[in-house]
C-alpha cells in the first residue's frame, strides 16, 4: 500500500513545525548556508601578535604616580645631539615670526 505524496508532505510540515526547521520540500536553494556560517574575521585578525608598550608608554603611564625610569636609547640620542651642538653641527634653530617668508613668491 503506497502513501500519497500530499500526506507525506503534511507529515514533513508537521515535523518541521515541531522541531522548528525550515520546510523546504523541493530543496530550493535559499542561501541560508551562508547565513549559518560563522564570521572568520575576528579569528583571522588575531594571527599576528600586537605591539607591546615600550619604555616611552610606560613612563607616560606611570608619570602620574611619580614613578620614573631611565630610557637609555633616548638619553643616548640627547647626548649625541648635545655633542653635535657643542661642535656647532646641530640642526638650525626654528625660524620665529610666522611663516610669511615660506617658499618662493610668484
Amino acid at each position: 500500500m503506497s502513501i500519497p505524496r500530499a500526506r507525506l508532505l503534511d507529515l514533513m510540515k508537521a515535523r518541521c513545525q515541531l522541531f522548528s526547521t525550515t520546510f523546504n520540500p523541493d530543496g530550493i536553494r535559499t542561501g541560508n548556508k551562508v547565513l549559518r556560517q560563522r564570521l572568520r574575521g575576528p579569528a583571522l585578525v588575531q594571527y599576528y601578535p600586537g605591539r607591546l608598550p615600550g619604555i616611552k608608554e610606560l613612563r607616560q603611564a606611570f608619570a602620574s604616580q611619580g614613578l620614573d625610569c631611565i630610557d637609555e636609547a633616548e638619553e643616548d640620542r640627547l647626548e649625541h645631539i648635545e655633542g653635535l651642538k657643542a661642535r656647532g653641527k646641530g640642526a638650525p634653530k626654528k625660524k620665529k615670526g610666522g611663516d610669511t617668508a615660506k617658499g618662493k613668491k610668484r
Partner: protein
Amino acid sequence: MAMFRAKKLDLGCYVNIGVIRDHTKRKVFEAAEPERQALRYMIRNTTLPQRTRAMAQLQLAQMHAYTRPTQIRNRCIMSGKTRGILRDFKMSRFQFRINALQGNIPGVKKASW
C-alpha cells in the same frame, strides 16, 4: 594598499612589508566580512529575482581586493616567510626547528626512535 594601513605600527612580531600588508588585509577583511556574506547570501538565494542576484554578483566582484579572504596568507611571525608554515606554531619550518631546539616552544621536544 596604503590607504588601509594603520597610521602607526601595531605589530609586535617580525615586521616586513609582507607582514604589514597581510595584517592590513586581515583587518580590512574583518571589516567587510558582514557585507560580503550578505552579498553572498543574495547571490545564492534562488528565490530572489534574477536581477537582484546579478546586481549582488557585480557588487561583490567590484569590492576591493583587500576585502577578499583569499588574499590572506599565513606568514611566519619570526621571519615573515610565507612557505612551509606550521599553522599550530605560526612559524616556518626552520624557525620552528630553531626555537624548538632552544626550548622556546612549550611542550615541544625532539624525538628519536
